[in-house]
């Protein structure tokens, strides 16, 4: 997990880039590269084109570096350029990507199974009728093992792309919600809805996993 970077550190980093510091540049490429590729891939037709978009975006980022004033975080600024580059390229490919295909088409549905709660009209309407499996007491070595990370990674990979990217940026990389909204061009509400759905699904995958390993 990387620390949220503060604008003053960003300005220092920009200075190092301007001075030709290759290590600083490659650290940035390694930190942001995988997310940049996935975000680009949302808007264009193939991994090959996405790699070109990332490449073009970096060239644009370096060219525009003098214009970075630290009003947003550097990584947000980088993603704005990436998203614009990817959208332009997608348009040139005549590729229209409906928001629902990125975000998932179930955003107005409840995230928890309605069957777990008392039905409307019943005396216990909306209250738990079946509690989820309680996995809070998992031994630490079990909870924090590589198997758990595998379950989380697998659950994220199954999410619609925008949900996956929001949870990766927020919970894996530790970005703020403001940064994610700006970087991915999402409203606060959309970001919150996407994140909540993603976290609910990952929590559900962990519940299933811990239930099965506990033999319950």
């Amino acid at each position: 997990m990387s620390d949220p970077r503060k604008p003053p550190d960003d300005l220092a980093l920009v200075e190092r880039l301007r001075a030709g510091d290759e290590t600083a540049f490659m650290v940035l490429v390694d930190e942001l590269g995988p997310s940049m590729h996935r975000v680009a891939r949302m808007y264009v037709s193939s991994d090959t084109v996405a790699a070109e978009v990332v490449q073009d975006a970096w060239v644009g980022i370096l060219k525009g570096l003098d214009g970075f004033e630290g009003r947003s975080s550097l990584r947000t600024w980088i993603f704005r350029i990436l998203v614009n580059t990817a959208k332009t390229r997608g348009q040139r490919e005549s590729r229209t990507v409906p928001f629902s295909s990125l975000a998932g088409d179930d955003l107005d549905q409840p995230t928890f199974d309605p069957g777990s709660f008392g039905a409307p009209g019943e005396p216990n309407a909306g209250a738990w009728s079946t509690l989820p499996f309680d996995w809070r007491g998992m031994p630490e070595e079990r909870a924090e093992g590589t198997e758990t990370l595998h379950v989380i990674g697998g659950a994220i990979a199954m999410l619609p792309p925008m949900q996956a990217e929001v949870i990766r940026l927020r919970d894996v990389l530790g970005w703020t919600s403001e940064e994610v909204c700006n970087a991915l061009d999402l409203t606060e509400t959309n970001q919150r809805v996407l994140l909540h759905r993603a976290r609910t699904k990952v929590r559900g995958a962990l519940e299933e996993h811990f239930r099965s390993v506990s033999g319950a």
């Binding site: 490659m26 995988p34 790699a51 995230t111 738990w128 989820p132 909540h196």
Partner: protein, 83 residues
């Protein structure tokens, strides 16, 4: 007569991310906290959300493709050289 401000478990679980991220308005926040104080089921799910977020932070970031890494380093060198 007091106004009914109760909120159901089904409503609370939809608000847990916003609750954990400090994004609820004061009225909703008060309702959620009152509910949580009296509901073991929702408290359990809340704690599991917290744990899900903590565990997700342990995922490692994937590697950037080697060819792309090399290409980008060259682009950086060109830029540094005034290209």
């Amino acid at each position: 007569m007091s106004v009914d401000v109760s909120i159901t478990c089904q409503e609370v679980v939809e608000l847990l991310s916003a609750y954990l991220d400090g994004e609820l308005d004061p009225t909703t926040l008060a309702r959620v906290e009152t509910h949580l104080a009296g509901c073991d089921g929702c408290t359990m799910v809340l704690e599991e959300f917290r744990e899900t977020i903590r565990l997700s932070g342990g995922l490692t970031v994937e590697q950037v493709d080697k060819t792309q890494r090399r290409t980008l380093l060259e682009a950086f060198r060109d830029w540094t050289a005034g290209g």
